[in-house]
């Protein structure tokens, strides 16, 4: 039996920049594969491949058949990613702010000791 997609699979799916671009576009509304390809200047088979991955992790669903298949974003699936990214960014921004201050302090002390010698 195929493994069900996990949260981490969705995270990994969106680590790919083209897929993020596709999701940005679908956030505006449903599109067919051809519409996505035209709007983003990509080849249709490439778009199809990305959409398949996005479907597998539940970020995108499709309705209709044949030429009229329309893909749409399952926005609620993005919330965990959004939450984690926000948290990740805040944690590291603050840590790196502190590192910046700390490095300045370190270098000031080293200069002082240099002068004292």
């Amino acid at each position: 039996m195929a493994r069900s997609p996990t949260t981490a699979d969705a995270f990994n799916a969106v680590a790919e920049p083209r897929r993020r671009q596709i999701l940005d576009l679908l956030a505006r509304g449903e599109r067919s594969v051809n519409d996505v390809a035209t709007a983003l200047g990509l080849a249709q088979p490439q778009v199809s491949k990305h959409l398949r991955v996005l479907r597998e992790v539940g970020l995108v669903s499709v309705r209709g058949s044949g030429q009229l298949r329309l893909y749409r974003l399952n926005a609620e699936r993005l919330k965990p990613i959004h939450d984690w990214v926000k948290s990740f960014e805040q944690f590291w921004n603050e840590s790196l702010d502190r590192l910046d201050d700390y490095l300045k302090e370190l270098q000031k002390q080293e200069t002082k000791h240099g002068r004292e010698e």
Binding site: R3, S4, P5, T6, T7, A8, D9, F11, N12, V14, A15, P17, R18, R20, Q21, L23, D24, L25, A27, R28, A39, L40, G41, L42, L73, A75, E76, R77, L78, K79, P80, I81, H82, D83, W84, V85, K86, S87, F88, E89, Q90, F91, W92, N93, E94, S95, L96, D97, R98, L99, D100, D101, Y102, L103, K104, L106, Q107
Partner: protein
């Protein structure tokens, strides 16, 4: 106005009329294809025009009524065959009802001539007889010349009152449009260099209000009030800017092709005098504004990565690397504001662990750990990060059970001119079945998640320089 070197008809089926216009061709093309412009000049003198629909692209239709000075209405239909902005239009023109016998193909070309435009109108009929009939019965040549005169007058009037700026952006127009449409993003780039924005109200619908305060670099605040006239995603926004000082109608046109966007801004003032007063300054601030939009689009560059933070420090690489790896340094900066970090050791080898506790002033505790995969001094660290517990096990984030259990962090240190650029990339690791969840949440916009740290960097560096 004398017309030099007028083009000649290629055949007896053709009427050719030409004129040099004292306006750039972008404006001329826009005035030929925008219903708000067209109503001011289309047709011979004495005629007025009402448009019921206008869709300027191959296959699109422009349906309009010309009201004659004799009180008679003439139905018209134009079907566009070719649209090449800003140089060429080809369309098939047919009358309806009364004027159904009038059929011809028009080719309109706009040739750039040093800031002016040579406009040439070629009307091609099916037979010489039809051409002659139209010239005699309907005064087509005279009518065409009058139309072009009215067009020239309209352009002169508009050009004197309008400031036009444009730029090509390397992003599809849906995304460029979104950079305007999303007030959180708009606030980040709207305005000249050095300004920041607080948006109080943003209702992008006809009649909707847009109110924002622009904070100038000199410390002065400017309250701006506008009303939207038209919002057609992803191609066009029109709003009336009311305050402060100037009143103008601003039109933003997003023309897209193959993943790039040709963005044109037009600001139409009430009078030529007012426009002349601000023209030079506004042309420059528009360019600065385009620079800022380009910067905003770049931070969302899909070629960038999802979970990346980058920061440059005014310190040599060896020192930064030591700050990351020596336990005496590491605990002094690592962790969010308001927390103290404690750790017994940093076991710096593949498989080794940095196990730490973070404690807030209120006593709240969190544990975490790094399990190293790769260490390459002074340029690279790779480790698996996760929350932890007192005994050093892997634990869930205390405040969310949808967070990934573990993520792989790659930290690189690159030195240039004594400054070190640190880049941190994180990718959640494929996890076990325990990750599976159903997620219930708000309908959220994708764009809030990506990047966004680079502007903080710029602000941080500026802060650093000021010290």
């Amino acid at each position: 106005m004398a017309v030099k070197s007028e083009p000649v008809a290629a055949s007896d089926r053709e009427i050719v009329i030409s004129r040099v216009l004292d306006a750039p061709r972008e404006l001329a093309f826009a005035a030929w294809t925008d219903p708000q412009h067209v109503t001011h000049w289309w047709g011979p003198r004495g005629f007025t025009t009402t448009t019921s629909e206008m869709d300027v692209r191959p296959g699109g239709v422009w349906r309009f009524v010309m009201h004659g000075p004799d009180g008679v209405d003439y139905q018209n239909k134009i079907v566009y065959l070719e649209v090449v902005r800003p140089e060429r239009l080809v369309y098939r023109h047919s009358g309806e009802g009364e004027t159904a016998d009038v059929k011809f193909q028009s080719t309109v070309t706009f040739d750039e001539q040093g800031g002016k435009t040579r406009l040439t109108l070629r009307l091609l009929f099916e037979t010489a007889e039809e051409r002659d009939a139209v010239v005699e019965k309907r005064g087509a040549i005279e009518g065409g010349k009058q139309t072009l005169e009215r067009f020239a007058e309209h352009l002169a009037d508009t050009a004197a009152r309008e400031i036009v700026s444009s730029r090509v952006f390397d992003a599809p127009r849906e995304l460029v449009f979104q950079a305007f449409r999303d007030p959180d993003r708009l606030a980040r780039w709207w305005g000249p260099k050095g300004f920041t924005n607080t948006i109080h109200e943003f209702d992008p619908r006809p009649g909707g209000a847009w109110r924002l305060t622009m904070h100038g670099p000199d410390g002065n605040d400017h309250l701006n009030e506008s009303v939207f006239v038209e919002v057609a995603e992803p191609e066009r926004v029109v709003f009336e800017h009311r305050e402060p000082v100037h009143r103008f109608r601003m039109t933003l046109v997003f023309a897209g092709q193959n993943g790039r966007t040709d963005l044109t801004w037009r600001m139409l003032f009430d009078s030529a005098e007012e426009c002349a007063r601000v023209r030079e300054v506004v042309a420059e601030t528009n360019e600065q504004n385009f620079d800022r939009l380009a910067g905003e689009l770049a931070t969302r560059d899909p070629a960038g990565e999802a979970f990346v933070i980058s920061r440059t420090f005014d310190a040599p690489r060896e020192l930064v690397f030591r700050a990351w790896t020596e336990i005496g340094h590491l605990t002094r900066w690592f962790g969010p504001v308001g927390f103290t970090t404690a750790a017994r050791e940093n076991d710096l080898r593949p498989g080794g662990v940095f196990h730490y506790q973070m404690r807030a002033a209120n006593g709240q505790e969190m544990w975490g750990k790094w399990v190293y995969r790769e260490i390459a001094p002074p340029e690279r660290l790779v480790f698996v990060q996760s929350f932890s517990d007192e005994s050093g096990g892997t634990a869930r984030a205390p405040f969310s059970d949808t967070f990934p259990l573990e993520w792989l962090s790659t930290v690189t240190f690159a030195e240039h001119d004594g400054r070190t650029t640190l880049t941190m990339r994180a990718v959640p690791l494929s996890a076990t079945e325990t990750e599976r969840k159903t997620f219930v949440g708000m309908h959220g916009s994708m764009q809030k998640g990506w990047g966004g740290t680079l502007e903080k960097l710029a602000g941080h560096l500026a802060k650093g320089r000021a010290e």
